[in-house]
């Protein structure tokens, strides 16, 4: 019964320091709840502990998820640490798009993923996108790739947490590497079978924006997960460049979908980059729930 325990972080509101409070929205009861629960799990909310959490959250601007070590995405509870980006709610549109494509693969009806299909996730971080998609498709398998070994370790633990370890492979690879196609082909859980979906949420913040970011992002989340070069599109160019060799190596095939997250102003440019490598493919741009063009889906032809 949530309401039975007075929440020390809500009690601070509206006068005292209140985690998650900002000028437009006031207190964030969700944050207060997560922090209170965290202290509860740690053995209680005594004054010293509350003060320490408030210091980390308010003075140091640490994100709630790094304080509690947990994040929530789709239906999953995931482990996070400062080695990985905290999953963003708006990325769920990538999961919807990927799952939609997997289900459409064989028959247009739901649950048609009986035939084992494969998903690749480039820059998997916590593994959130891949694990959420697999959780919806009982027969599918997936390969998650990240340049950060720490991220791979966390993704592996998250796969276990979600009970999906048997359907997930993880590899510490660089998606800009010239040997990517061969490396992926060697790591796929279903060798020799092209992936139906390749998804990625690569870093897309421009070098210029990095300095002006909210401190809770800039000072705490890994820059390897955020910075996408001068125009924010460096990783998309790298991924686009890989498409011909991915097709040649049989990692992708005609009909495979590339599902990418986009920064708020980037969707069209990203679509153009990918289509340059695959001119007759079809493009679909989907919005997140804030109305931002968030997801670029390119179906290869």
């Amino acid at each position: 019964m949530r309401h039975d325990v007075p929440n020390p972080f809500m009690a601070q509101c509206p006068d005292g320091p209140c985690p998650g409070a900002d000028a437009t929205h006031g207190a964030d009861p969700i944050e207060a709840r997560l922090l209170a629960e965290f202290l509860g799990e740690q053995g209680g909310a005594d004054e010293a502990r509350v003060a320490e959490v408030l210091r980390r959250r308010i003075d140091l601007d640490e994100p709630v998820a790094y304080i509690t070590g947990k994040a929530y995405f789709w239906t999953l509870e995931l482990e996070v640490s400062p080695d990985v980006l905290i999953p963003r709610p708006c990325s769920e549109i990538l999961v919807e798009t990927a799952v939609g494509h997997l289900r459409k693969a064989d028959e247009p009806t739901a649950n048609a993923d009986t035939e084992a299909s494969q998903i690749i996730d480039l820059g998997t971080g916590t593994g959130c996108l891949l694990l959420a998609a697999l959780s919806e498709c009982q027969a599918a398998r997936g390969l998650g790739v990240d340049l950060s070994p720490a991220a791979i370790r966390i993704a592996a633990r998250n796969a276990e947490r979600a009970g999906l370890q048997d359907r997930v492979a993880l590899a510490n690879l660089d998606f800009t590497s010239p040997t990517l196609a061969a490396d992926l082909a060697a790591s796929m859980p279903l060798p020799g079978q092209p992936a139906r979906v390749l998804m990625s949420n690569p870093p897309y913040i421009t070098t210029g924006e990095m300095l002006d970011l909210d401190p809770s992002v800039r000072d705490h989340e890994p820059h390897l997960a955020l910075e996408g070069g001068a125009d924010g599109l460096a990783c998309y160019r790298a991924i686009a460049d890989q498409i011909p060799s991915l097709l040649d190596a049989g990692v992708l095939e005609k009909g495979s979908a590339i599902v990418l997250e986009a920064g708020s102003t980037q969707a069209l440019r990203i679509a153009a980059l990918i289509c340059e490598k695959s001119p007759s493919s079809t493009v679909e741009i989907r919005r997140d729930l804030s109305g931002i063009d968030r997801c670029v889906k390119v179906t290869l032809a």
């Binding site: 019964m1 949530r2 309401h3 929440n7 809500m10 509206p14 998650g20 437009t24 929205h25 964030d28 009861p29 969700i30 944050e31 997560l34 994100p63 709630v64 998820a65 929530y72 995405f73 789709w74 239906t75 999953l76 509870e77 980006l85 905290i86 963003r88 709610p89 708006c90 990325s91 769920e92 999961v95 959420a132 949420n201 870093p203 897309y204 913040i205 924006e209 970011l213 909210d214 809770s216 992002v217 989340e221 997960a225 955020l226 997250e261 986009a262 920064g263 708020s264 102003t265 997140d288 729930l289 804030s290 109305g291 931002i292 968030r294």
Partner: protein
């Protein structure tokens, strides 16, 4: 009524017992007959035959969902008729047995028959009440929304008490009660709360609770210990299974789904826990939002479920309004009307203003004890049904 006044003993008291058995038999038979007539007027027997025909069709299982529904409905209705027949048989047996026992002077057997009849009477009463829940939506679970009225902390405290009352009522009635959302009052209590009760007929019973609930007591928050009145608003809506589109169909094109609090670039640029979702049904303007869940996906699912409940409740309310226009008797229990008072000082009394049902066991009611709270719902249902039958009776002469 018993033979105790007669000093004659033996013979006399035996035949008086048989007399009692016969009297009880007549009164329970009367109840059973009344129920049977109701079943007949509602065409339950015809409906059972109709469903049986459906069940016999060869292509029935081509649509397993529909087949499941039909066979469940058939079983439920057939069950009703069978139980009624079973009541009649059991009563006939009891009377026959008592008559024989009377001839042979076995007083104990007569007493047993009498208690058997008493049990049947209880069962018939329960059966009758369950029959009152005859709208297809009645069998659903429900969402109970509570909101504190004006009056600050006092009302917030009252809202929390009501939440507790319904939560316990659900649990003790064999349902599953889950608090899905609360927003705390500034000092104590709750400004608003949402309780979900799942299980068969939860909506049918709890729908009686929609309206304004008033509390009178000595305030815990007033240092002068004055008597205080405060209000809380209760709104009960049916809870549908995700795949149950029997009740209401929503065209996805009519929905606008958005995050009502997020702003700016979003994505990698911000990492707040913000995942609230709002769903707007454009044709009606009905809105449901949820921020209690941890992920956007779950908030969206919850908001959708609340939206479906709101739209269905709206539809049911419209049906009720239409019927009320015809009968014009029972007090309106729609949003905004005071339906019940809970007085704790200077005496204890809970009283329903629609049905005049009341009990001095105020604390037991507030603890959600079904023995005390459910009769409030029963009396409302019984009264609604009585009004309905009156209207139907009047109608059938003119229309059928």
């Amino acid at each position: 009524m018993s033979g105790s006044a007669d000093s004659g003993g033996g013979e006399q008291s035996k035949s008086t017992s048989l007399h009692t058995v016969q009297e009880v038999f007549r009164s329970v038979s009367g109840m059973v007959e009344a129920v049977r007539v109701k079943l007949e007027t509602r065409g339950v027997r015809e409906k059972v035959d109709e469903l049986a025909k459906e069940l016999a069709r060869e292509d029935l299982w081509d649509n397993p969902d529909r087949a499941g529904k039909i066979s469940r409905e058939h079983a439920a209705l057939a069950d009703m008729i069978e139980s009624l027949d079973a009541f009649t048989t059991a009563m006939d047996n009891a009377v026959e047995m008592a008559t024989m026992a009377d001839e042979e002077g076995e007083t104990q057997v007569i007493a047993d028959c009498l208690s058997e009849l008493d049990q049947i009477e209880t069962q018939v009463k329960r059966f009758h009440l369950n029959m009152l829940l005859d709208h297809p939506a009645d069998r659903l679970g429900c969402i109970i929304e509570l909101a504190a009225g004006a009056g600050g902390t006092e009302s917030c405290d009252w809202t929390e008490m009501l939440l507790d009352m319904y939560k316990r009522w659900g649990e003790q009635s064999g349902y599953q009660s889950t608090i899905t959302d609360t927003s705390p009052g500034t000092e104590a209590g709750l400004r608003s709360a949402v309780l979900q009760i799942s299980g068969l007929n939860a909506y049918g019973w709890a729908k009686a609770e929609t309206g304004v609930h008033r509390m009178v007591r000595i305030s815990e928050y007033d240092s002068n210990g004055r008597r205080q009145t405060c209000f809380a608003q209760v709104n009960v809506m049916p809870l549908m299974d995700d795949d149950d589109d029997n009740f209401i169909e929503i065209d996805p094109a009519d929905l606008k789904i958005d995050t009502y609090r997020a702003s700016g670039a979003g994505g990698q640029h911000v990492n707040t826990t913000e995942s609230a979702v709002r769903v707007t049904h454009l044709p009606t303007g009905v809105i449901a939002q949820c921020q209690a869940e941890r992920s956007q996906h779950r908030n969206k699912a919850m908001a959708m479920s609340v939206l479906r409940s709101r739209l269905l409740e709206r539809k049911l309310q419209a049906e009720r309004d239409a019927r009320r226009e015809q009968r014009n008797s029972l007090g309106d229990n729609s949003w905004g009307n005071q339906i019940r008072s809970y007085v704790l000082h200077p005496y204890k009394l809970v009283k329903d203003h629609r049905t005049n049902h009341e009990t001095p066991q105020a604390l037991a009611v507030l603890k959600g004890e079904p023995e005390y709270l459910t009769p409030f719902m029963e009396s409302y249902l019984a009264q609604t049904a009585a009004d309905e039958d009156a209207v139907q009776g009047g109608e059938s002469t003119s229309s059928a």
